[in-house]
């Protein structure tokens, strides 16, 4: 066997470059971080009511808008002061009061459908951002209380005003095991 030639060395270098390049290219496509980490962190602080009171279609779009610097942090009434403070802390901004233009903070509530009056029109089903309403055309609809975020988005589409928002049933958090 002859000695290594310049050509061999070049071929080896080119082969390595191609292989590593392909691997990196694949990794960049396949192992890409899911999304902007700042958006993730903002989204984690939002209450996930998905109510759209901030005039974005949901909490995640609002988080994206904040990250882009388009929206201020004072637009989330369901999160209230606690969320505002947390956002201010994360983004290094001065906390300030909520902008009342975007609504006022209310205690947690859940939607309830008056089954006597519901006509089964199914208009509220697509309106619910978390698919918490079960029903089908001309069948009784009902709200899964556990999943309802109390966003009020099911109210406008209802033609017979049979949805009301009420305080959730008292479910005390499960007690620690270590009671004395």
């Amino acid at each position: 066997m002859s000695e290594w030639t310049l050509l061999d060395a070049l071929a080896l270098a080119a082969g390595l470059a191609a292989a590593l390049g392909a691997a990196l290219g694949w990794a960049a496509l396949r192992l890409r971080p899911d999304a902007d980490p700042l958006v993730e962190r903002i989204d984690a602080l939002l209450p996930q009511t998905q109510c759209g009171q901030c005039r974005y279609p949901g909490c995640r779009p609002y988080a994206e808008a904040i990250a882009r610097g388009e929206a201020d942090i004072d637009r989330c009434p369901p999160g209230g002061e606690a969320t505002l403070r947390a956002l201010a802390g994360l983004l290094g901004r001065e906390p300030r009061p909520l902008d009342p233009d975007y609504g006022v903070t209310k205690p947690r509530q859940v939607a309830v459908i008056d089954e006597e009056r519901c006509i089964g029109c199914a208009l509220c089903l697509p309106a619910c951002p978390v698919d918490a309403i079960v029903g089908a055309p001309r069948f009784m609809h009902t709200v899964i209380e556990r999943e309802c975020t109390g966003c009020e988005l099911c109210l406008p589409p209802c033609p017979v005003d049979c949805i009301a928002l009420v305080a959730p049933a008292q479910t005390p958090p499960v007690r620690d095991r270590r009671a004395a």
């Binding site: 989204d43 939002l46 209450p47 996930q48 009511t49 998905q50 949901g58 909490c59 995640r60 697509p126 619910c128 951002p129 978390v130 698919d131 918490a132 999943e147 975020t149 008292q170 479910t171 005390p172 958090p173 499960v174 007690r175 620690d176 095991r177 270590r178 009671a179 004395a180």
Partner: protein, 485 residues
């Protein structure tokens, strides 16, 4: 006799137990209306299996437990189910769904099985019987006994400790039980020992209860079974708190984030043991418990054995009624008890004591003053925490600080309040902070779920729109094709 050591800190408190202990256990009359709480205080209400108007007998199952930590509820009087409603109950939850049963005074019972040969019964069968008897820990926490036993069985615990310490001032129902029914306590201990296959059983009693110690010693002598022992622990509050008692008796400290079965231990109250004994001797579900009715505003304090669901007012009646100026009703003892809004709340499994206090009993000293950092609270804390640092973390809503300082390990015993020269209600602040933390964690869980469901909703809508678009394109293409042909 094992030689226990004293756990760190705690308080030596005046007992206030001589009143009821001067008399035997009274049997309260059956109530005309029994109000049966379906939630034993952990937020898991049993589901009723009867409807209003049904006739039930004493011991009939009226509500079936939900989940692993739920407890079955049985009728404690014979009669008719009158209503299912939310009523005030003693304890932290304040209210619970309750079944109200009107007594028809026939007192007929579910057919009781003959005494069980428990030594020939498999542990699994015994456990199932304990489960269906609806027993929750009678020491005051009302944790489902079968769940505790099952966890202990799975963890193969080696040491069962029966808690007869009863360290809290005023409460003496366990003392009375051990004096009068020590044999039941020992039998229950042996049954539970068989269920969990524990090598050793220790019955722990505080050294200020010599009569109970003598009675339990005699009962132990009457059984030839080895592995049962008595441990006398110093009378220091809170010697009877689960972790503190286990540390005194076994020398093993249960880590803050684990529970006793994880370190091979199991702790059960002596009252619970007696209830288990009744399951094997008479096949009876839990329908009654002993409650200490005491306080300076009670005419004749006593330990009263009452059916669950009996209004507290009936118990007070049985003890000669009120005298003097009752100022406050307390469910539980003076350290960890909670104020009761009225005496029509019913007896529940968790209710070990009712204190009807006068102004003198309450010893109110005046209003709260600023913390002077004297450190007295840290020197009495039986959990080894720094209450004054915790207080600062609570005041500044420092969630991470609270976790770091061990808020989760607080047993809410009230020792820090008792010694605080500035009269700061520390325990109440810690309880509120823990509640807030639970609510926040709950909110976070709900938010995570909503986030997921919102993403799903968006995907679904997008897929729907995409399908519609494709269908439209398809239709258009077909229409064009038709036009050409």
């Amino acid at each position: 006799m094992a030689r226990p050591r004293r756990f760190p800190a705690g308080l030596e408190l005046p007992p206030f137990k001589s009143g009821p202990m001067g008399r035997p256990i009274l049997a309260a009359a059956a109530p005309s209306l029994a109000t049966l709480a379906l939630d034993q205080g952990n937020g898991i209400a049993a589901q009723p299996v009867v409807v209003v108007g049904d006739r039930v007998r004493v011991g009939s199952l009226v509500a079936r437990s939900e989940g692993d930590f739920g407890v079955d509820v049985h009728a404690t009087v014979a009669g008719t189910v009158r209503s299912l409603e939310v009523r005030p109950v003693p304890g932290a939850a304040a209210t619970s769904p309750c079944l109200v049963i009107e007594n028809d005074w026939t007192d007929d019972r579910e057919d009781a099985s003959t005494p069980l040969d428990w030594q020939a019964t498999t542990p699994a069968d015994l456990l199932a019987r304990i489960r269906s008897a609806g027993i929750a820990g009678l020491g005051g926490a009302a944790f489902a006994t079968h769940a505790k036993l099952e966890a202990a069985r799975d963890a193969k615990v080696s040491h069962l400790v029966l808690n007869g310490a009863e360290c809290e001032p005023w409460i003496c129902c366990d003392d009375a039980l051990m004096r009068e029914r020590a044999a039941d306590v020992v039998l229950g201990a042996r049954v539970m020992q068989r269920v969990v296959d524990a090598e050793r059983v220790t019955i722990a009693i505080e050294d200020d209860k010599p009569e109970a110690i003598t009675a339990v010693e005699a009962a132990l002598a009457a059984t030839d079974h080895h592995g049962l022992a008595l441990a006398v622990v110093p009378a220091v509050f809170p010697a009877g708190a689960e972790r503190q008692l286990l540390a005194s008796v076994t020398g093993i400290e249960v880590p803050g984030d684990a529970w006793p079965p994880a370190v091979g231990l199991l702790c059960q109250n002596v009252g619970t043991a007696a209830a288990v004994a009744r399951v094997v001797t008479s096949g009876e579900p839990l329908t009654r418990r002993i409650v200490t009715v005491t306080g300076s505003a009670i005419a004749a304090p006593a330990n009263v054995e009452a059916r669950l669901g009996t209004p507290i007012a009936d118990l007070i009646e049985a003890c000669g009624g009120y005298r003097g100026e009752p100022l406050r009703l307390i469910a539980g003892g003076s350290m960890t008890g909670r104020a009761l809004p009225s005496d029509d709340a019913p007896v529940t499994q968790a209710l070990n004591c009712v204190v009807v206090a006068t102004a003198a009993d309450l010893a109110v000293h005046g209003s709260e003053m600023p913390c002077i950092r004297c450190g007295d609270c840290a020197s009495v804390c039986p959990a080894g925490l720094l209450p004054q640092s915790l207080l600062r973390a609570v005041a500044s809503a420092d969630a991470q600080g609270l976790v770091r300082l061990g808020l989760a390990d607080c047993i809410e015993c009230g020792c820090c309040d008792y010694v605080c020269p500035s009269r700061i209600p520390l325990t109440a602040r810690f309880v509120a902070a823990r509640r807030e933390r639970r609510l926040r964690l709950d909110q976070e869980r709900r938010a995570a779920r909503a986030r997921e469901r919102y993403a799903g909703h968006e995907r679904r809508l997008a897929a729907g729109a995409e399908a519609e678009r494709r269908e439209f394109e398809e239709a258009r293409r077909r229409a064009r094709g038709d036009g050409q042909s």
